[in-house]
Subunit: 206 residues, 2 copies
Protein backbone atom coordinates (compact mmCIF):
# COMPACT_ATOMS: atom_id res chain seq x y z
CA UNK A 1 0.00 0.00 0.00
CA UNK A 2 1.13 3.49 -0.74
CA UNK A 3 2.19 5.56 2.22
CA UNK A 4 1.12 9.08 3.01
CA UNK A 5 3.20 11.84 1.48
CA UNK A 6 1.76 13.78 4.18
CA UNK A 7 3.32 15.37 6.78
CA UNK A 8 5.10 12.48 8.25
CA UNK A 9 7.94 13.78 6.37
CA UNK A 10 9.35 17.09 6.90
CA UNK A 11 12.12 18.80 8.29
CA UNK A 12 14.81 19.66 10.44
CA UNK A 13 16.80 21.85 9.78
CA UNK A 14 14.57 22.18 6.79
CA UNK A 15 10.94 21.80 6.06
CA UNK A 16 8.01 22.26 8.37
CA UNK A 17 5.24 19.95 7.40
CA UNK A 18 1.74 20.66 8.47
CA UNK A 19 -1.37 18.63 8.60
CA UNK A 20 -4.42 20.54 9.48
CA UNK A 21 -2.31 23.38 10.73
CA UNK A 22 -0.42 21.25 13.23
CA UNK A 23 3.27 20.48 13.03
CA UNK A 24 3.67 16.74 13.09
CA UNK A 25 7.24 15.77 12.33
CA UNK A 26 10.13 16.92 10.27
CA UNK A 27 12.20 15.19 7.61
CA UNK A 28 14.99 16.36 5.31
CA UNK A 29 13.94 17.65 1.86
CA UNK A 30 15.32 14.59 0.08
CA UNK A 31 12.90 12.37 1.94
CA UNK A 32 10.06 14.74 1.28
CA UNK A 33 10.83 14.59 -2.42
CA UNK A 34 10.97 10.81 -2.36
CA UNK A 35 7.68 10.45 -0.54
CA UNK A 36 5.97 13.00 -2.74
CA UNK A 37 7.00 11.00 -5.79
CA UNK A 38 5.15 8.06 -4.36
CA UNK A 39 1.94 9.87 -5.27
CA UNK A 40 1.22 11.34 -8.65
CA UNK A 41 -1.55 13.65 -7.58
CA UNK A 42 -1.43 16.96 -9.42
CA UNK A 43 -3.52 20.05 -9.84
CA UNK A 44 -6.27 19.32 -12.39
CA UNK A 45 -9.35 21.10 -13.73
CA UNK A 46 -12.83 20.36 -12.44
CA UNK A 47 -13.66 19.02 -15.88
CA UNK A 48 -10.84 16.51 -15.52
CA UNK A 49 -12.05 15.69 -12.02
CA UNK A 50 -15.50 14.91 -13.43
CA UNK A 51 -13.88 12.28 -15.63
CA UNK A 52 -11.92 10.83 -12.73
CA UNK A 53 -14.94 10.56 -10.42
CA UNK A 54 -16.96 8.63 -13.04
CA UNK A 55 -19.00 6.49 -13.29
CA UNK A 56 -21.50 9.14 -12.22
CA UNK A 57 -25.19 8.57 -11.51
CA UNK A 58 -27.40 8.97 -14.57
CA UNK A 59 -31.14 9.54 -14.90
CA UNK A 60 -33.80 11.04 -17.14
CA UNK A 61 -35.72 13.81 -15.41
CA UNK A 62 -39.26 14.34 -16.65
CA UNK A 63 -41.45 17.40 -16.43
CA UNK A 64 -44.65 18.55 -18.13
CA UNK A 65 -45.09 21.59 -20.37
CA UNK A 66 -48.13 23.85 -20.02
CA UNK A 67 -49.39 22.18 -23.21
CA UNK A 68 -49.35 18.79 -21.49
CA UNK A 69 -46.31 17.43 -23.31
CA UNK A 70 -43.78 15.45 -21.32
CA UNK A 71 -40.21 16.73 -21.45
CA UNK A 72 -37.11 14.70 -20.63
CA UNK A 73 -33.60 15.79 -19.77
CA UNK A 74 -30.45 13.82 -19.03
CA UNK A 75 -29.06 14.46 -15.56
CA UNK A 76 -26.08 13.30 -13.53
CA UNK A 77 -26.07 16.00 -10.89
CA UNK A 78 -28.55 14.63 -8.37
CA UNK A 79 -28.26 13.21 -4.85
CA UNK A 80 -30.33 11.83 -2.00
CA UNK A 81 -30.88 14.45 0.71
CA UNK A 82 -32.97 13.11 3.59
CA UNK A 83 -34.44 9.93 5.05
CA UNK A 84 -37.27 11.49 7.08
CA UNK A 85 -38.99 12.64 5.00
CA UNK A 86 -37.37 10.95 2.00
CA UNK A 87 -35.92 13.65 -0.23
CA UNK A 88 -33.61 14.08 -3.17
CA UNK A 89 -32.17 17.07 -5.00
CA UNK A 90 -31.49 17.78 -8.66
CA UNK A 91 -29.20 20.43 -10.12
CA UNK A 92 -30.28 22.02 -13.40
CA UNK A 93 -28.93 24.75 -15.65
CA UNK A 94 -30.53 28.15 -15.10
CA UNK A 95 -31.21 28.38 -18.82
CA UNK A 96 -32.92 25.04 -19.46
CA UNK A 97 -36.60 24.28 -19.95
CA UNK A 98 -36.79 21.63 -17.23
CA UNK A 99 -35.85 23.98 -14.41
CA UNK A 100 -38.55 26.46 -15.32
CA UNK A 101 -41.10 23.63 -15.55
CA UNK A 102 -40.15 22.30 -12.11
CA UNK A 103 -40.45 25.79 -10.65
CA UNK A 104 -43.86 26.38 -12.24
CA UNK A 105 -45.40 22.91 -11.78
CA UNK A 106 -43.75 21.82 -8.53
CA UNK A 107 -43.45 18.24 -9.75
CA UNK A 108 -41.02 16.03 -11.60
CA UNK A 109 -39.97 12.41 -11.91
CA UNK A 110 -36.50 10.93 -11.96
CA UNK A 111 -36.10 7.65 -13.87
CA UNK A 112 -32.96 5.50 -13.50
CA UNK A 113 -33.18 4.19 -17.00
CA UNK A 114 -32.35 0.84 -18.53
CA UNK A 115 -29.24 0.13 -20.58
CA UNK A 116 -31.59 -0.50 -23.49
CA UNK A 117 -32.23 3.25 -23.62
CA UNK A 118 -28.53 4.02 -24.00
CA UNK A 119 -28.77 5.90 -27.31
CA UNK A 120 -32.11 7.61 -26.69
CA UNK A 121 -31.08 8.77 -23.21
CA UNK A 122 -27.80 10.14 -24.49
CA UNK A 123 -29.63 12.11 -27.19
CA UNK A 124 -31.82 13.67 -24.48
CA UNK A 125 -28.71 15.40 -23.23
CA UNK A 126 -27.88 16.93 -26.60
CA UNK A 127 -30.85 19.21 -27.29
CA UNK A 128 -33.53 21.34 -25.64
CA UNK A 129 -37.12 20.35 -25.02
CA UNK A 130 -38.01 23.82 -26.29
CA UNK A 131 -37.39 22.65 -29.84
CA UNK A 132 -37.70 18.86 -29.69
CA UNK A 133 -40.36 16.45 -28.40
CA UNK A 134 -37.72 14.09 -27.08
CA UNK A 135 -40.03 11.23 -26.09
CA UNK A 136 -41.47 11.06 -29.60
CA UNK A 137 -38.31 11.82 -31.52
CA UNK A 138 -35.96 9.53 -29.61
CA UNK A 139 -38.48 6.78 -28.80
CA UNK A 140 -38.58 7.09 -25.04
CA UNK A 141 -41.35 4.84 -23.65
CA UNK A 142 -43.39 6.58 -20.97
CA UNK A 143 -45.47 5.31 -18.08
CA UNK A 144 -48.00 7.22 -15.95
CA UNK A 145 -47.13 7.63 -12.29
CA UNK A 146 -49.15 7.49 -9.12
CA UNK A 147 -48.60 10.75 -7.22
CA UNK A 148 -47.45 13.24 -9.84
CA UNK A 149 -48.94 14.30 -13.16
CA UNK A 150 -45.72 13.82 -15.13
CA UNK A 151 -44.90 10.41 -16.65
CA UNK A 152 -41.81 8.33 -15.91
CA UNK A 153 -39.69 6.32 -18.31
CA UNK A 154 -41.16 2.84 -18.76
CA UNK A 155 -38.82 -0.06 -18.16
CA UNK A 156 -36.63 1.80 -15.66
CA UNK A 157 -34.76 0.26 -12.75
CA UNK A 158 -36.10 2.94 -10.38
CA UNK A 159 -38.59 5.78 -10.81
CA UNK A 160 -38.84 8.52 -8.17
CA UNK A 161 -41.97 10.69 -8.05
CA UNK A 162 -40.96 14.06 -6.64
CA UNK A 163 -42.67 17.17 -5.30
CA UNK A 164 -40.63 20.38 -5.17
CA UNK A 165 -39.79 21.69 -1.74
CA UNK A 166 -37.15 24.38 -2.18
CA UNK A 167 -34.60 25.81 -4.56
CA UNK A 168 -31.18 27.37 -4.17
CA UNK A 169 -28.99 29.16 -6.68
CA UNK A 170 -25.56 27.60 -7.14
CA UNK A 171 -23.36 29.35 -9.70
CA UNK A 172 -24.70 28.74 -13.20
CA UNK A 173 -27.23 26.17 -11.94
CA UNK A 174 -30.18 25.96 -9.57
CA UNK A 175 -30.47 23.14 -7.05
CA UNK A 176 -34.04 21.94 -6.45
CA UNK A 177 -34.87 19.93 -3.33
CA UNK A 178 -37.92 17.68 -3.43
CA UNK A 179 -39.80 15.17 -1.35
CA UNK A 180 -39.93 11.66 -2.80
CA UNK A 181 -43.68 11.00 -2.67
CA UNK A 182 -43.53 7.57 -4.34
CA UNK A 183 -40.87 5.25 -5.70
CA UNK A 184 -40.98 2.12 -7.85
CA UNK A 185 -38.21 -0.33 -8.66
CA UNK A 186 -37.36 -3.36 -10.78
CA UNK A 187 -34.12 -5.08 -9.70
CA UNK A 188 -33.96 -7.03 -12.97
CA UNK A 189 -33.31 -3.91 -15.03
CA UNK A 190 -29.65 -3.01 -15.66
CA UNK A 191 -29.13 0.73 -15.33
CA UNK A 192 -26.94 3.25 -17.11
CA UNK A 193 -24.19 5.37 -15.59
CA UNK A 194 -22.23 8.28 -17.10
CA UNK A 195 -18.59 7.57 -17.97
CA UNK A 196 -15.68 9.75 -19.17
CA UNK A 197 -17.24 12.79 -17.56
CA UNK A 198 -20.58 12.66 -19.31
CA UNK A 199 -19.35 11.54 -22.72
CA UNK A 200 -20.62 7.96 -22.66
CA UNK A 201 -23.47 5.97 -21.06
CA UNK A 202 -22.95 2.35 -20.02
CA UNK A 203 -23.71 -0.01 -17.13
CA UNK A 204 -21.16 -0.87 -14.46
CA UNK A 205 -19.91 -4.14 -13.05
CA UNK A 206 -18.96 -4.88 -9.47
Amino acid sequence: MRQSTCCHRAAQPSCTCLTGGRVLISLPPSIIYFLSEDFNINSITVSQAQKLTAPAPFALLSTMTPEGQANFMAISWWTYLSNHPPMLGVCLSKKGLSGSLIASNGEFALSIVSEELKDAAFRCGTCSGRSVNKAAQFGIPTVPLTQVAVPGVAGSRVIFECRLQNQLEAGDHIFYTAEIVAVQGDPDVRQLFAWDGYARLAPVSG
Copy 2:
Protein backbone atom coordinates in the same frame (compact mmCIF):
# COMPACT_ATOMS: atom_id res chain seq x y z
CA MET B 1 -35.87 -4.90 -26.02
CA ARG B 2 -38.72 -4.45 -23.65
CA GLN B 3 -41.60 -2.40 -24.94
CA SER B 4 -43.40 0.39 -23.16
CA THR B 5 -46.30 -0.65 -21.03
CA CYS B 6 -47.45 2.69 -22.07
CA CYS B 7 -49.91 3.95 -19.88
CA HIS B 8 -53.43 3.75 -19.37
CA ARG B 9 -54.42 0.25 -19.51
CA ALA B 10 -57.86 1.34 -18.71
CA ALA B 11 -60.43 2.07 -21.30
CA GLN B 12 -62.35 -0.25 -23.46
CA PRO B 13 -62.93 -1.72 -25.74
CA SER B 14 -59.56 -0.41 -26.56
CA CYS B 15 -57.21 1.68 -24.50
CA THR B 16 -55.81 5.03 -25.43
CA CYS B 17 -52.11 4.80 -25.00
CA LEU B 18 -50.16 7.96 -24.40
CA THR B 19 -46.52 8.79 -24.78
CA GLY B 20 -45.42 12.24 -23.88
CA GLY B 21 -49.00 13.39 -23.77
CA ARG B 22 -49.69 12.38 -27.36
CA VAL B 23 -52.00 9.62 -28.47
CA LEU B 24 -49.89 6.99 -30.15
CA ILE B 25 -51.83 3.77 -30.47
CA SER B 26 -54.79 1.92 -29.06
CA LEU B 27 -54.70 -1.66 -27.90
CA PRO B 28 -57.25 -4.09 -26.46
CA PRO B 29 -56.97 -4.72 -22.72
CA SER B 30 -55.55 -8.22 -23.19
CA ILE B 31 -52.54 -6.86 -25.05
CA ILE B 32 -52.12 -4.07 -22.57
CA TYR B 33 -52.09 -6.61 -19.77
CA PHE B 34 -49.48 -8.64 -21.61
CA LEU B 35 -47.27 -5.60 -22.10
CA SER B 36 -47.64 -4.59 -18.47
CA GLU B 37 -46.43 -8.01 -17.41
CA ASP B 38 -43.31 -7.38 -19.39
CA PHE B 39 -42.20 -4.99 -16.63
CA ASN B 40 -41.84 -5.99 -13.03
CA ILE B 41 -41.61 -2.55 -11.54
CA ASN B 42 -43.29 -2.31 -8.15
CA SER B 43 -43.65 0.14 -5.31
CA ILE B 44 -40.54 0.00 -3.13
CA THR B 45 -39.09 1.92 -0.18
CA VAL B 46 -36.50 4.66 -0.60
CA SER B 47 -34.09 2.44 1.31
CA GLN B 48 -34.58 -0.27 -1.32
CA ALA B 49 -34.16 2.35 -4.03
CA GLN B 50 -30.82 3.34 -2.53
CA LYS B 51 -29.66 -0.23 -3.02
CA LEU B 52 -30.92 -0.32 -6.60
CA THR B 53 -29.25 2.95 -7.59
CA ALA B 54 -25.84 1.78 -6.32
CA PRO B 55 -22.94 1.98 -6.91
CA ALA B 56 -23.15 5.41 -5.34
CA PRO B 57 -20.35 7.98 -5.18
CA PHE B 58 -18.18 7.69 -2.08
CA ALA B 59 -15.80 10.14 -0.45
CA LEU B 60 -14.25 11.12 2.85
CA LEU B 61 -15.13 14.66 3.86
CA SER B 62 -12.61 16.40 6.10
CA THR B 63 -13.08 19.30 8.47
CA MET B 64 -11.10 20.81 11.32
CA THR B 65 -12.10 21.02 14.97
CA PRO B 66 -11.47 24.21 16.98
CA GLU B 67 -8.63 22.28 18.64
CA GLY B 68 -6.93 21.83 15.27
CA GLN B 69 -7.71 18.14 14.90
CA ALA B 70 -8.78 16.87 11.47
CA ASN B 71 -12.12 15.06 11.37
CA PHE B 72 -13.26 12.68 8.62
CA MET B 73 -16.70 11.45 7.71
CA ALA B 74 -17.88 9.00 5.04
CA ILE B 75 -20.26 10.56 2.52
CA SER B 76 -22.20 9.39 -0.51
CA TRP B 77 -24.67 12.24 -0.76
CA TRP B 78 -22.73 14.80 -2.75
CA THR B 79 -23.00 16.18 -6.28
CA TYR B 80 -21.43 18.68 -8.64
CA LEU B 81 -23.48 21.89 -8.83
CA SER B 82 -21.95 24.43 -11.19
CA ASN B 83 -19.27 24.88 -13.83
CA HIS B 84 -18.81 28.68 -13.54
CA PRO B 85 -17.74 29.00 -10.81
CA PRO B 86 -16.97 25.33 -10.15
CA MET B 87 -19.11 24.20 -7.23
CA LEU B 88 -20.23 21.07 -5.48
CA GLY B 89 -22.68 20.31 -2.68
CA VAL B 90 -22.57 17.90 0.25
CA CYS B 91 -25.51 16.70 2.32
CA LEU B 92 -24.87 16.04 6.01
CA SER B 93 -26.94 14.99 8.98
CA LYS B 94 -28.15 17.84 11.16
CA LYS B 95 -26.78 16.06 14.20
CA GLY B 96 -23.23 15.30 13.04
CA LEU B 97 -19.98 17.02 13.97
CA SER B 98 -18.90 17.67 10.37
CA GLY B 99 -21.87 19.86 9.52
CA SER B 100 -21.29 22.13 12.49
CA LEU B 101 -17.58 22.38 11.62
CA ILE B 102 -18.35 23.32 8.01
CA ALA B 103 -20.79 25.96 9.20
CA SER B 104 -18.32 27.44 11.68
CA ASN B 105 -15.11 27.18 9.61
CA GLY B 106 -16.50 27.67 6.11
CA GLU B 107 -14.06 25.14 4.67
CA PHE B 108 -13.85 21.43 3.97
CA ALA B 109 -12.17 18.96 1.63
CA LEU B 110 -13.68 16.04 -0.23
CA SER B 111 -11.34 13.15 -1.01
CA ILE B 112 -12.28 10.42 -3.48
CA VAL B 113 -10.30 7.77 -1.69
CA SER B 114 -8.31 4.81 -2.89
CA GLU B 115 -9.50 1.21 -2.71
CA GLU B 116 -6.61 0.64 -0.32
CA LEU B 117 -8.53 2.62 2.30
CA LYS B 118 -11.57 0.34 2.02
CA ASP B 119 -11.68 -0.74 5.66
CA ALA B 120 -10.56 2.55 7.22
CA ALA B 121 -13.00 4.57 5.12
CA PHE B 122 -15.88 2.28 6.01
CA ARG B 123 -15.08 2.64 9.71
CA CYS B 124 -15.28 6.43 9.32
CA GLY B 125 -18.97 5.97 8.63
CA THR B 126 -19.60 4.01 11.81
CA CYS B 127 -18.75 6.51 14.55
CA SER B 128 -18.67 10.19 15.43
CA GLY B 129 -15.66 12.46 15.36
CA ARG B 130 -16.89 13.78 18.70
CA SER B 131 -15.58 10.64 20.38
CA VAL B 132 -12.96 9.27 17.98
CA ASN B 133 -9.88 10.72 16.30
CA LYS B 134 -10.61 8.80 13.11
CA ALA B 135 -7.41 9.64 11.26
CA ALA B 136 -5.30 8.32 14.10
CA GLN B 137 -7.51 5.41 15.09
CA PHE B 138 -8.23 4.07 11.61
CA GLY B 139 -4.91 4.97 10.00
CA ILE B 140 -6.09 7.53 7.49
CA PRO B 141 -3.07 9.18 5.85
CA THR B 142 -3.48 12.93 5.56
CA VAL B 143 -1.98 15.50 3.24
CA PRO B 144 -1.95 19.30 3.60
CA LEU B 145 -3.87 21.20 0.92
CA THR B 146 -3.23 24.42 -0.92
CA GLN B 147 -6.26 26.70 -0.42
CA VAL B 148 -7.95 25.44 2.72
CA ALA B 149 -6.64 24.79 6.22
CA VAL B 150 -8.10 21.27 6.44
CA PRO B 151 -6.08 18.29 5.20
CA GLY B 152 -7.15 15.86 2.49
CA VAL B 153 -6.69 12.11 2.40
CA ALA B 154 -3.27 11.22 0.97
CA GLY B 155 -3.24 8.80 -1.95
CA SER B 156 -6.70 9.78 -3.20
CA ARG B 157 -7.85 9.71 -6.81
CA VAL B 158 -9.28 13.24 -6.49
CA ILE B 159 -9.21 15.83 -3.70
CA PHE B 160 -11.53 18.85 -3.84
CA GLU B 161 -10.73 21.89 -1.69
CA CYS B 162 -14.01 23.62 -0.90
CA ARG B 163 -15.15 26.92 0.54
CA LEU B 164 -18.70 27.12 1.88
CA GLN B 165 -21.12 29.30 -0.04
CA ASN B 166 -24.60 28.50 1.22
CA GLN B 167 -26.68 26.01 3.15
CA LEU B 168 -30.23 24.75 2.88
CA GLU B 169 -32.26 22.57 5.21
CA ALA B 170 -33.57 19.38 3.61
CA GLY B 171 -35.55 17.13 5.96
CA ASP B 172 -33.22 15.54 8.51
CA HIS B 173 -30.12 16.82 6.69
CA ILE B 174 -28.53 20.11 5.66
CA PHE B 175 -27.21 20.63 2.14
CA TYR B 176 -24.05 22.77 1.95
CA THR B 177 -23.04 24.36 -1.35
CA ALA B 178 -19.39 25.27 -1.84
CA GLU B 179 -17.02 26.68 -4.39
CA ILE B 180 -14.26 24.30 -5.48
CA VAL B 181 -11.20 26.50 -4.95
CA ALA B 182 -8.63 23.85 -5.91
CA VAL B 183 -8.66 20.26 -7.12
CA GLN B 184 -5.99 17.61 -7.49
CA GLY B 185 -6.15 14.24 -9.18
CA ASP B 186 -4.22 11.02 -9.78
CA PRO B 187 -5.72 8.84 -12.54
CA ASP B 188 -3.67 5.85 -11.43
CA VAL B 189 -5.57 5.51 -8.15
CA ARG B 190 -8.58 3.17 -8.15
CA GLN B 191 -11.44 4.69 -6.19
CA LEU B 192 -14.13 3.28 -3.92
CA PHE B 193 -17.89 3.37 -4.48
CA ALA B 194 -20.73 2.47 -2.10
CA TRP B 195 -22.62 -0.74 -2.93
CA ASP B 196 -25.75 -2.40 -1.51
CA GLY B 197 -27.04 0.95 -0.35
CA TYR B 198 -24.10 1.97 1.78
CA ALA B 199 -23.29 -1.45 3.23
CA ARG B 200 -20.13 -2.16 1.29
CA LEU B 201 -17.26 -0.23 -0.31
CA ALA B 202 -15.58 -1.51 -3.48
CA PRO B 203 -14.31 -0.27 -6.85
CA VAL B 204 -16.33 -0.61 -10.06
CA SER B 205 -15.50 -2.01 -13.47
CA GLY B 206 -16.66 -0.71 -16.82
